[in-house]
């Protein structure tokens, strides 16, 4: 059950999400790669409530993550690259 890829990733790359290797396609954003791999949760609120990508067009800030060491990056408008490191606060 859950999100799935409509077609196999073109020119696959590997990204590292909280230490786990995840295969992604060249056309993926970080958010789409996370969702396709079943990782819906991108952050949690101070009280522990889980959150995931919501608007997917750069407005809502629910998908912000540490990407290649840089804080506050929006996963939904960031293209994946081979070896990219994503740290989610979950």
């Amino acid at each position: 059950m859950g999100a799935f890829r409509v077609r196999a990733p073109v020119a696959p790359v590997t990204i590292v999400v909280n230490g786990d290797s995840v295969i992604a396609g060249r056309e993926d954003t970080v958010a789409s790669a996370l969702i396709a791999s079943g990782r819906w949760q991108t952050r949690r609120c101070p009280d522990g409530e889980p959150r995931g990508p919501f608007c997917l067009i750069g407005f809502c800030q629910e998908c912000v993550a540490v990407i290649d060491g840089r804080r506050g990056k929006r996963a939904c408008v960031t293209s994946v690259a081979d070896g990219m490191r994503i740290d989610l606060d979950i």
């Binding site: 999100a3 073109v10 056309e27 990508p53 608007c55 997917l56 067009i57 407005f59 840089r70 804080r71």
Partner: protein
């Protein structure tokens, strides 16, 4: 919190700066460049096209969409435009646009500026709408078209408007199953609204094809239903829908692994508001919009506004509004003489008039429905970022809050990272309903820079986005 521009980004002084590379921004940039202006086109996204002309992987160009835009969609630079993707405009003042992009932070002081910032979906704060797996319908489309990812295998689509049906056929073609399409409008009302599009055949035909496709697949839209709760522990497990008229029975629960919501759009007017452009309240849409004249000029002479960021008209209409603004800017700067500029503007306006039925259809479909706000349960989260509940906002209003600004300071509504993009409109609507006063009286929540959060901290040194 705002730091000085970093080194690496060179300040620019083009004739025209266009913010947003969606339909309106592309229209403006191309029209102005064709007239001979130097144009910088800034976009927050990775690819041009915005939401209205999003390019899919291997997807055929939609034949109903402006042919003249397609050849520059792949790369606006071919038109001679200085196109800058992944560039966030986070502020706009007398000094110009403040940009954070791959080059670093810099400023653009253009002779004229077109704001084509688009819109984001308005979603009423339904309990559970913060669960992972709940997305806007536009978001689900973006995910599918740009990255080839379907949001779920058993998807519930709820809300109102043509996007529900469009998304449904796209997801079905991709191999997903639907848990149902739940439309707020009743069938009769929906049909009457949809009939507006018949006066503009391309849209009418497109609509009929959509309905035909769903009918062939045996998918029935369920009418007069509003989503009242999204359930799940750590992610979506189901959706509860209730008849919009309580006499028609109780709530029903549907199992789903993803929920897509679409109720209308909120124009992204933050930059215009911050710069000091006058806004006006549109009671039918229930949103504030930037005031502008026939040539898309705002109350400030050197700032134009075009596209869904001003009033919802759809992609076709937005392209034309952009072109109008681009021509007017070129005329201002002497690149087009008056006769030629007027001739071009007349042609564009004629095309806009043909699209008027479509604009009426969208306005009617996405009209403000106070019923979606009035019945909100107190435990629903109104402001996602700051986790402020409907009950907290109502209590503050009953304690005597009389302006969106006070509401913001007291409850922290709209103070989070999204800067109120998803809750300010809702908070203003709740305030109007509770106080019985009009939004014009109550005023608007002020927009302040940065409109989106900037990367702050030691890691921002150099801001090397090209490494990503």
């Amino acid at each position: 919190m705002i730091s000085e521009p970093k080194t690496g980004g060179q300040d620019l002084t083009p004739d025209l700066a266009v913010v947003g590379a969606g339909p309106a921004g592309l229209g403006a940039a191309i029209a102005a460049r064709a007239a001979g202006l130097t144009v910088v086109l800034l976009d927050d996204q990775r690819r041009p096209g915005g939401q209205g002309l999003r390019q899919g992987i291997g997807a055929p160009a939609n034949p109903f969409f402006a042919r003249d835009i397609h050849h520059v969609l792949a790369d606006p630079a071919v038109a001679g435009v200085d196109y800058r993707p992944n560039s966030l405009v986070w502020g706009f003042d007398e000094e110009g646009l403040h940009v954070e992009g791959p080059e670093g932070r810099y400023r653009i002081s253009a002779k004229r500026t077109v704001l084509a910032t688009g819109a984001s979906e308005w979603v009423p704060p339904i309990p559970g709408w913060t669960l992972p797996g709940v997305v806007t319908a536009g978001g689900a489309q973006a995910l599918l078209k740009a990255s080839g990812v379907a949001v779920g295998r058993r998807i519930a689509i709820a809300g109102t408007g043509p996007l529900l049906l469009q998304l449904a056929t796209q997801l079905l073609s991709a191999g997903a199953r639907l848990a149902g399409i739940f439309e707020v409008a009743f069938f009769g009302e929906w049909l009457k609204t949809a009939s507006y599009t018949m006066a503009y055949p391309p849209a009418g035909v497109q609509g009929l094809l959509l309905c035909g496709d769903l009918w062939r697949r045996g998918i029935n839209v369920q009418w007069g239903l509003v989503p009242t709760r999204i359930v799940g522990r750590d992610r979506v497990e189901g959706l509860e829908v209730s008849p919009i008229s309580p006499r028609s029975g109780g709530a029903r629960r549907i199992e789903a692994d993803a929920v897509c919501l679409s109720f209308g759009l909120t124009p992204a007017y933050e930059l215009a508001s911050m710069r000091g452009c006058r806004l006006a309240y549109d009671p039918a849409a229930g949103t504030w919009q930037v005031e502008r004249d026939e040539a898309m000029r705002s109350s400030l002479g050197d700032v134009f506004v075009a596209g869904d960021g001003v009033g919802i008209g759809g992609a076709r209409y937005a392209i034309l509004e952009g072109q109008l603004a681009g021509c007017a800017a070129a005329q201002d700067l002497g690149a087009l003489d008056t006769a030629e500029a007027e001739r071009r503007k007349r042609t564009i306006r004629r095309r806009m008039n043909r699209l008027a039925p479509l604009k009426r259809f969208l306005a009617r479909t996405y009209r403000y429905r106070p019923g979606l706000i009035a019945g909100l349960p107190l435990d629903a989260i109104l402001c996602r970022c700051e986790q402020v509940k409907v009950g907290t906002v109502r209590a503050a209003i009953r304690d005597g809050i009389v302006s969106p600004h006070e509401l913001r300071i007291l409850t922290r509504v709209g103070m989070g990272p999204c800067q109120g993009r998803f809750c300010s409109v809702t908070a203003e609507r709740v305030l109007a309903l509770e106080t019985g006063r009009s939004p014009e009286d109550l005023g608007i929540s002020t927009s302040r820079p940065p409109v989106r959060p900037l990367a702050i901290g030691p890691e921002e040194e150099g801001l090397r986005e090209d490494a990503i």
